[in-house]
């Protein structure tokens, strides 16, 4: 009889401990999901639609670059020049778009005094055209 009692007590304490850890884990998950949600909410509210447009373009470029890199590593790097051309097309376009974003962002207006948004966009277009020229030449 006493053994059964102690075992049941042990079981109870174990159950208590287990529930405590799961509760902690749940709390942590809830916290991180809360953090992500608040981040997304803040992002949605604070960024203008133009910057959001730039951001979607950046995400698309990143995905395209990752997919090309994965294909090169996993399947074959056979026409290596083609890989370099495609990958650097994504990377170069990403860099140009990121620099456009930082030049056009009104919060950075103090840093880029002599560069108007239109000038930034014109630079972006010019740089992109040169980049695409090199990419199609190297693509083979």
């Amino acid at each position: 009889m006493p053994s059964s009692k102690s075992t049941s007590a042990k079981q109870k304490s174990a159950a208590n401990a287990a529930s405590a850890t799961t509760h902690q884990a749940q709390q942590q998950v809830a916290q991180t999901s809360n953090a992500v949600q608040t981040l997304l909410k803040a992002y949605n509210e604070t960024t203008s639609s133009r910057l959001k447009l730039i951001d979607t373009f950046l995400v698309f470029l990143m995905l395209s670059g990752v997919m090309q890199f994965a294909y090169c590593v996993l399947v074959t790097n056979f026409p290596f020049n083609a890989f370099l051309a495609g990958f650097s097309s994504c990377v170069g376009q990403f860099v140009l778009t990121a620099s456009l974003r930082s030049q056009v962002n009104p919060e950075n207006g103090a840093v880029f005094k002599e560069v108007s948004p239109e000038r930034a966009f014109a630079d972006f277009v010019l740089g992109s055209i040169v980049l695409h020229f090199f990419v199609y030449n190297f693509l083979g």
Binding site: S64, P79, A82, A85, G86, T97, V135, Y136
Partner: protein, 443 residues
């Protein structure tokens, strides 16, 4: 009786037989041999269409070579007892004749060491010591032991040999390993070479048989009649003795009522030596790409190439070259220093004499040769070599878009399209933004 009829038939058929290289024959008959004793052989040749010219080996006229041109197509040397030859028929000049395409028929001497015997060594035939003719005590017969009936067997030049036994008297020879030799008649297995036919020489032969090796001149490893095909196309026939060609042996009976096969055998063997039978030639060689007819100036690597050859054999009965499709084992090599491709060249069905094959040129560029190199014992050696250049593909000969690179093409194109779309949206948004600010200002 039957063999007589056969011989007559053979004679009748061969009246029109001619050689593919010419009909003039020079017979070097030494004075001690009587021409009348060889009338069956010589008349047979004349009936076949050859023009025989007789000359003693010591005479200087008619000359065999004049102004570096061979005057006769064939030379027969029946001079077993002559030690010195005239200047223009010494063994060295006979070799020169061979390189000019003259065929030779030589008979060896069993009594002395003549110059003809020493020439045999140049043809990879090892002769026994002088004065050791072939001796056989079997089968029981009433001729001396040096006159031996030999049963001919099938060989390279007479594949089906149903001839009766052949009388032979002379010396045997042993063969060195030389792929150009064509054994025609081998000694019977119970024969041996000894310097006398009495039993007093038996001890020496017995000792040699015990030791084995070079001392043993016995058995069917010895040859009696052999052919040789040097480079250049001429043919040489070596016979161990001149009596084989004589009338006496041709008419001697082997068994009661059955004549020997000497006349027919000698006729067949002379026909081979004088390039009547088993003579081939390559008439033409063509090569081109598949679906084309003319040969291009140069091939590209990995091209599909068609190669064709037309081969004729000489028909001595009609003395004409007829297309011959009977070669089953010819090979074509596509060679640049080493054969890169070696494939069978079979006969094309439906086109007599035409052989063709299609193959893919190798992946190497360079100067290649189409090589036909066909050497079979008894048949004319066929050689042909055609040089073609094979170049790598031109810059526009490669495939334009590689299927392995489509993800990269898609990535680059999607980046460009995304850029264009982005700029369009940006400029459209700019319109709206400026309108907003304008309205804000107005307000």
């Amino acid at each position: 009786m039957a063999t007589r009829l056969l011989a007559l038939l053979g004679l009748a058929l061969s009246v029109c037989a001619k050689s593919s290289t010419g009909n003039s024959v020079l017979v070097l008959l030494e004075p001690s041999l009587d021409k009348a004793n060889y009338s069956i052989f010589f008349n047979g040749l004349t009936e076949s269409g050859y023009n025989l010219t007789f000359r003693s080996p010591r005479d200087t006229k008619p000359a065999v070579i004049e102004d570096d041109v061979a005057q006769f197509s064939h030379v027969v040397v029946f001079a077993p007892d002559t030690k010195n030859f005239a200047q223009d028929v010494t063994p060295q000049s006979l070799i020169t004749l061979l390189s000019k395409g003259t065929n030779l028929l030589l008979a060896l001497s069993h009594k002395k060491q003549t110059v003809v015997n020493s020439l045999a060594a140049e043809f990879s035939l090892i002769l026994p010591p002088p004065g050791t003719p072939l001796v056989s005590h079997f089968p029981e017969r009433d001729t001396p032991a040096t006159v031996i009936p030999v049963k001919p067997t099938a060989n390279a030049i007479l594949p089906t040999n149903n001839l009766p036994p052949i009388w032979f008297s002379g010396i045997p020879f042993a063969y060195s390993s030389n792929p150009l030799l064509v054994p025609i008649l081998n000694a019977p297995s119970e024969s041996f070479a000894a310097d006398s036919s009495s039993d007093s020489g038996a001890d020496a032969v017995f000792e040699a048989a015990d030791k084995g090796g070079e001392g043993l001149w016995a058995g069917s490893q010895l040859g009696l009649v052999a052919g040789f095909q040097p480079y250049g196309g001429a043919r040489v026939l070596w016979a161990g003795g001149v009596e084989m060609f004589s009338d006496e042996y041709a008419e001697k009976e082997v068994t009661a009522g059955q004549k020997s096969g000497n006349a027919q055998f000698v006729k067949n063997v002379a026909a081979w030596a004088f390039q009547e039978s088993m003579v081939l030639r390559i008439d033409s060689v063509t090569h081109h790409r598949v679906n084309e007819t003319d040969p291009p100036e140069m091939y590209t690597t990995n091209d599909n190439v068609v190669f064709g050859a037309h081969i004729s054999a000489f028909n001595s009965e009609t003395s004409a070259w007829e297309p011959y499709s009977g070669i089953k084992d010819m090979q074509l090599e596509f060679t640049m220093l080493d054969p890169h491709i070696r494939i069978a060249l079979p006969a094309v069905t439906g086109k007599p004499g035409q052989y063709g094959v299609t193959f893919r040129a190798p992946d190497r560029h360079g100067v290649f040769k189409f090589v036909i190199d066909y050497k079979r014992k008894g048949w004319t050696h066929l050689h042909s070599s055609t040089i073609v250049p094979v170049v790598p593909p031109r810059h526009d000969g490669y495939p334009r878009f590689l299927s392995a690179a489509w993800p990269y093409y898609a990535g680059a194109i999607s980046t460009s399209l995304g850029f264009v779309l982005f700029s369009a949206l940006w400029l459209a948004g700019e319109d709206r933004a400026s309108k907003k600010t304008k309205t804000a200002k107005i307000e």
